[in-house]
Symmetry: none
Subunit: 300 residues, 2 copies
Amino acid sequence: MGVYTDLREKLISDYATLSPQMQKAARHILDHPNDVALRSMRALARAANVPPSTVTRLMAAIGVDTWQQFRDSYQNRLLDLPASYAHRARALQNSEADIHRDAHLLQSIAQAEIANIGQAFAPEMCERMKDACEHIARARQVFVVGRGAAYPAAYQFAYAYRLFNENGVLVDGHAGAFGDQLRGIGPRDVLIAVGARPYIRDTVRAVAFARKQHCPVIAVCDSDVAPIAVDAVAKLVVSDSSPSFFQSFTTSVSVMQALVALLVARGGQKVLQRIAVAEEQLAAFDTYHEEAAPTRNSRS
Amino acid sequence: MGVYTDLREKLISDYATLSPQMQKAARHILDHPNDVALRSMRALARAANVPPSTVTRLMAAIGVDTWQQFRDSYQNRLLDLPASYAHRARALQNSEADIHRDAHLLQSIAQAEIANIGQAFAPEMCERMKDACEHIARARQVFVVGRGAAYPAAYQFAYAYRLFNENGVLVDGHAGAFGDQLRGIGPRDVLIAVGARPYIRDTVRAVAFARKQHCPVIAVCDSDVAPIAVDAVAKLVVSDSSPSFFQSFTTSVSVMQALVALLVARGGQKVLQRIAVAEEQLAAFDTYHEEAAPTRNSRS
DNA sequence: ACTTTAATGAAACATTTGTTTCGATAACTG
DNA sequence: CAGTTATCGAAACAAATGTTTCATTAAAGT
């Protein structure tokens, strides 16, 4: 069981000295250790976008004679892990509390997240998501509102959406301009409102205002009868149950992301091109960090 | 096609009707399920003292088309993907594309989310989260930085953290004050940086600056060798793989939330009281919508 | 500028893989 | 008993795997 850690550590410590292509391979291995254990070397190379020879060379570079050796150590790691996620959590529940309380809490969180995702992507919800997309695709302007803990979900959608459409508005109420941003909202627009109990007044007001202007509302919330879901054309109900003290909006983020994915899939090639343009612009603005060129002369 | 529900059950129930040699193979499979997932069919046959053809025949006998299918289900069990999801997704893949393409996409997203959560909350990562909490709990000030798509994760943490501690700073670079917000950062503070490839320059710069000031860094990122993870005291690696076009930061949000939960658990009663106070304040500011009193005649 | 070196991907290579074929053997049936 | 069937394993097969080779290219050194 020590073999695995050694190889992984070696991969990390030697990373800087590796050639660019080997870095690509090493990185994929570090990020997808299970691929090493379960898939073939060639399959891994394909996934990493690297010729098979590079992987072989990488083995030599980190002092491993053969891919089989490397793979074995990763398989052992898999075998050391308790078999099942559910089993893991259950086992922890039965163990002494003090040392494992943290671990138990984390496992509970993970379990809750998975359960929430499962509910949010149940068949009926998927149908509702598709309906929601129809409305969004037809809309003149797409407003998104989410305050407090729900803000990340709203932001996430607005950020991604703006990469391929210019008619998205994140109603974030900066500088108190909460009302301003909704000015002009009407029947041909759509408002996506994110919130869960306790509902934040601003969000409820925004929904009420939109409804009064006959603007269709898509509600991402915790109940079919949530105040922001009344008369909504699509109610995307996400469970926010969490063992932690706070309500969990992570599932809302997932749902918002799924909406974006649906829109992109619907938009086809044209949307992809727009995204490419947006990315170019970001690169031109020097937004992204250029990865360090592999230090050639810094080898040990 | 057909009975994917549980191949192991099928093996057990049909065991009596199988030919002696097939029973030998079946028995070995039942006794050594991991061999199915990790080793080759021929290797398994050797271990079971059976010619390869027997295994192939066994597959046909239990109604499985190909060894690959069989092996996949055992690999999934190892990876602990909830079976229902894997199967649902696979079933949809085989269905007519046009109507179900959206459904398939959504199922893939759900599946990916669950897999990502599973990885992020693997035992080793849980250890790292606990380490990270130690640093946060000791810190004089807690800085959080995340730009672009990673912003929701950073925001989520800052928002929740501020409910029970006043030493949290969300480095969001509003009004270009990106540098200002990091002024005074030092060895007794901690910087939590969230980001994935492509890394946004601001985030990388923030990390570099913090490191120069000898401030410990907690990196929530997509790789052990991410630029923002260099020399980090805790590297929380979250996979951002997603079938959608965009990288998925939902797992990062989950991890950030888990950090908060750990901190709250660690803080005990005192923290809970502070949260109660914070909520009272919010209520006093009229932040929350008062739910309509259940109208008497609107019984469910 | 030229030489030397390192890096890279395509192709070739020998194995190994999962599957199929086919003759041999055993078991059962009439 | 003969004849049919079911079972089995060796061999053949195409497809894949992991590795090595080699020519080409890009970078460093002189």
